[in-house]
Chain length 283, copies 4
C-alpha cells in the first residue's frame, strides 16, 4: 500500500533562499522529499515549485502547517494536497459519448487520482449508460430561457456531491461567468481543435476548408472568455486529402480522448500551476 505523501504547488515573487527555507522546513518537521522541481521565470522574477514528500506525523495537519508557513512566512501562493485524498469530480456531458466512456473507464481502471461523483447532462442519451456504470445521473435541460435556473441546479448538484473539479466532456454548452465564479473550483474543458487556430464551433469543417495537414485538440481550464483559458495540454494528428470531414471527426475523437484524459490526470496529480493565464506543468 502506498503511504500518504504531501504535494505542494507554490509560486510567488522570487527571493533568496526559498528552496532552502522550504526544504529545511520539511526536513526539520521530519519529512522526506521524494520529488521536487523548481523553476524560475527570470524575466518576471517569479519562482515556481512542486514538491512532494512523506511526512512523519499526521499528513493532514502537516499539510496545513506547511500551507501556513509558505503563505504567511514566505508570501507564496500555495496549493497543498494529500496523495491519498482523491477529489470528487463532476462530469458534464451532452450527447457525444466518446470522452464520456473513455473517462469513466479510466476512472474505473484506477488510472485517475480522483473519484467520479456524478454525471450532469442537458440530454437524456447517456443516462442508461451512466447508470449501468453505477453512476448518479442528473438530467438538467438547458434552454436560453432557463439557463440561470439550470445553472443554479447544476451548481447545487456539484456542491451537494462535494466536487472539487468539473470536467466538461464535450458538454457543448458555454458555462456562464457567474457559474464559473460560483462553482469555485477548476473546470476543465476539451476543445476539438488546436487552439488558438479554429476557436469556436465546427473546427473540423474549418480545418478541411483551409486545407491544413494536421488537426489538433486542446484541453484547457474554462474561463469567462470562451476558448481563451489557460492551455493544459495539446496534441495533433496528421490528415491528408483522402480524409473527409467524417474522417477528421473520427481522428479528432481519438485525439480528444487522449488529450483530455492526460490533462485531467495532470490536474488530479497536482502537477499544474496556473499563472498569467498560462500553465506551468510539472510532468
Amino acid at each position: 500500500m502506498k503511504s500518504t505523501t504531501i504535494i505542494a504547488l507554490l509560486h510567488g515573487p522570487d527571493q533568496p533562499g526559498l528552496v532552502s527555507r522550504m526544504s529545511s522546513w520539511i526536513f526539520q518537521h521530519g519529512g522526506n522529499i521524494h520529488h521536487a522541481d523548481q523553476h524560475k521565470d527570470l524575466q518576471a522574477n517569479i519562482f515556481f515549485q512542486r514538491v512532494e514528500w512523506s511526512p512523519t506525523g499526521d499528513a493532514k495537519e502537516e499539510a496545513a502547517r506547511f500551507r501556513a508557513f509558505a503563505s504567511e512566512e514566505l508570501g507564496m501562493n500555495v496549493h497543498v494536497a494529500l496523495s491519498t485524498n482523491w477529489p470528487k469530480v463532476a462530469l458534464f456531458v451532452s450527447r457525444l459519448n466518446h470522452c464520456f466512456h473513455d473517462l469513466i473507464l479510466r476512472f474505473k481502471a484506477g488510472e485517475m487520482n480522483g473519484e467520479l461523483a456524478c454525471i450532469v447532462s442537458n440530454h437524456k442519451e447517456l443516462q442508461a449508460a451512466s447508470e449501468s456504470y453505477g453512476l448518479s445521473y442528473y438530467h438538467v435541460p438547458v434552454t436560453k430561457a432557463n439557463k440561470p435556473e439550470a445553472e443554479a441546479e447544476q451548481l447545487k448538484i456539484v456542491k451537494d456531491h462535494g466536487c472539487e473539479l468539473v470536467v466538461m466532456a464535450r458538454y457543448m454548452q458555454v458555462l456562464s461567468d457567474n457559474f464559473l465564479t460560483e462553482v469555485d473550483c477548476p473546470v476543465i474543458n476539451i476543445h476539438h481543435s488546436f487552439l488558438p487556430a479554429f476557436a469556436g464551433g465546427k473546427p473540423y469543417h474549418q480545418a478541411h476548408e483551409r486545407g491544413v495537414k494536421l488537426i489538433g485538440a486542446t484541453a484547457h481550464y474554462a474561463t469567462a472568455e470562451l476558448d481563451k483559458g489557460p492551455i493544459i495540454h495539446q496534441d495533433v494528428i496528421r490528415i491528408n486529402h483522402r480524409n473527409s470531414i467524417p474522417d477528421l471527426t473520427r481522428k479528432g475523437k481519438d485525439l480528444e480522448k487522449t488529450v483530455f484524459a492526460h490533462a485531467i490526470r495532470l490536474h488530479l496529480d497536482n502537477r499544474i500551476l496556473v499563472y498569467n493565464n498560462k500553465t506551468v506543468v510539472f510532468d
Copy 2:
C-alpha cells in the same frame, strides 16, 4: 542509372472511364506504369491523379503527346514532367541562415530533384557562404522606395537563370502580387508557425504569450494574400514552461528546416496538385 519516367498530375471534373482511358493510352503507346494514385472528391465530383510511367519512345515527345491527349480529349488540367528533367531553383534569402545552409547541403547531397541556380538576397551576410558553396549570389537591396525596381531586378535574375521554382528561405520580405504574377512559376514559403494560428510576424512571441504546448511550422505556396496560400506540409514540436523565447526560436528553426525541405522535395518530385487554394499531396 535510372531511366527517364514521365510523371503526370491531373485533375478535372469526374467522368466515367477516366482511369481506363488514361491507362489504356499509356499502354497503347508502349508505356509501363510504375505508380498510379487516383482520388475522387465525391462532394465536388473532382477527379485527381498522379501517374508515373516508363515510356518506350522519346520521353519528351511522349509527355507532350500525353499532355495534349489529357487536356484536349479528356478536358483535364494537366502538368507533365520528366523525372530526369530537374527544374532550376532560385533561393531567396535574407540574413537568417538555417534554412539556407540546410537546403544547399540537401541539394548538394543529391536529395532534391532540382538544381540550385542562384541565390538572391536583400542583404550581404550570406554572400561569402554562397560563393564558398560555388553558387551565384545576387545582392538586391529592397527598400519601401525601390521595391518595384528591386522586384524587376529579381524577376530578371530568376528568368535569366531559367528558374521554374522560387524558394523563400526565411526571406522575410513580402513578394508583391505583381511579382507573383510575373514570375509565372510556383513560389514556396516557410512560415515559422502552425498556420492559421499566429499568422504574421513574431509567432514565437505570440505562442509564448498564449502559453501553447506545441509550436509548429508551415510550408505553403506564396499567394498575394499573405500567409493564406495553399498549405503543403506542417509539423509541430512540443514545448514547455522551461522554454524561453530563444528556446522556442531554436526548436522552431529545426522544425522549419525539416518541414521546408520536405515540402520542396514533394514539389520537385511532382507530388503536389493545387486545387481550391488547397493541396492534394500524393506521398
Copy 3:
C-alpha cells in the same frame, strides 16, 4: 445512404498493361472508379493494387466476375470485398480489459466496418461486461493439458458465428499452428512493444531495464512463429526517468488501444495486402 462499392486488392508478377486492362474491364462493365492506388516493387517486379469502384449491376455478381477475370486472365492474387458486406469478428480476450472496452465501443460507435459476433475468453472476468454490452460470451478455459480440446472448441465458436476475422485483444495465449491453419481467416494480434525490440513477455520491464526513451506497440497478423508475423501498424510514446514500470504500463495501454484499433480498421477497410511476410498498407 452509401451505395455499395467493390474493393479489390491484387498482387502478382508485373506485366505490361495491368492497370489498363483492369480499369478497362471495370469501365466496360459500367463501373466508376472512386479510388485506385497502384504500386510496383521494382526490385521484385511485383505489382500491387487497391481499387474501389461503384458497379452498375449487382455488386456481388460483379465482384465475382472481376475476381475470375483478375485471377484467371491476369494471373493475379486477388481479394475482392463489398463495402456493405461487413465481416463478422471474433474477439479473443483474457483478463486485461483496456483493448476489450476500447474495441467494443468503437464497433458500437460505427467506427469499424465489421460486426462483433462473439467474445471468447479463457477467463470469466469480462463475462458480465460483455453481456451488458449485449455480446455473446464464451468461456473456454485453456490449460496445457486441454489445449487441443480448448482450441477445437474455440474453432467451433468462430466457425459457428461465421467469423472472418479473429482479433486477439491482449488474449495472452499463443494460438497453435494448427489453430491458425484451421481457422482459415486472418488473426490480428497486438504486441505491447515496438517489435522487433523486446519481443516476448514483459516488454515494459525490458524497456525499463534497458533505459530506452520511447516505448511502442505493434499490431501484426498472427503466424505460427510467435511475434514474427507481418506488421500492420506501429507507434511509440516518449517516456522518461520519472516513469516507473506502472507508468510505462499505463502509457503502453493507451498506445495499444490506438495502434490496435487502427490496424483492425485498416483490415476491415480492405487496405492491407500481405506479401513476403510484410504488409502493403494502402492508407
Copy 4:
C-alpha cells in the same frame, strides 16, 4: 550578457534532508537557485538532483567548494560545471557528411554550449570542408593492422586539444575498450536505428526486410560493449511500402541529425546523469 551559473549533477544513496542540506549550503554561501530538479528512484533508494544557481563570489572556487561538500559530507557522486566554461569537443568522422555539416553549423550558430576543437577522420573526404569551416583536421588512417597505433595518435590529438567530449558523427569504426578507458571523457555515438532493434550494421536493410512501419535513431554513450551503452535520446519516423532502402536512408539521415544534435546539447547543458548503464535526463 549572461552571468556564470554553477550546475551540479548529483546522485547517491538517499538519506533524510539531502535537498535541505544542499539548498541551505547554497543559500548560506550567497547563491541564488534558478532551477532545481530532484528525483528519487524509490525501488533502488537512489537520489538524483540537478541544481543550477548564481553564486555571489568566484564561481570556480564556489563550484570546487560545493563539490567537496557534496562528495565528502553528503557522500554523493557529483559533477559540477560552470555555464560559461564550454568544453572542447573532438568530432570523429568518416566519409558520411550529414551529421558532420549539421553539427558544425549548429556549433557555429551558437546552439551548443561547447567549442569544436578538432576533426579526426580515417578518411580524407571531409578535409577540405573542415578547413573551409576553419577547423583543424587530422587524417588518421585506421586498418586492422595499425589500430593500436592509430588510436594512440587519436588519443594524443584529443588530449593535445584538451577535449572533454568525443562525438562520433557516423565515424563507422569501433573504438577499442582501451581507447574508451584512456580517453577518460564521455564519448557520444549515434546509432542509425531504434536500439535495441536492429543493432549492428545495415539497420535500414534489416528494417526493410522485417517490414517495420517506423525507423528510428538512437544517441548513446559509447561503451566497450558495442551498441549497448546508456541511451541518451531516441526518435522515430514513419515509413511505408513505397519507401525503398534509399528512402529509408534519407529519412534516417534527417532523424540521425536531430537526435544526435539534441543528445549532444543535453550533454553540454549538463543535463545527463549516467547510472546503472541508463541515463537520467533533466530536460
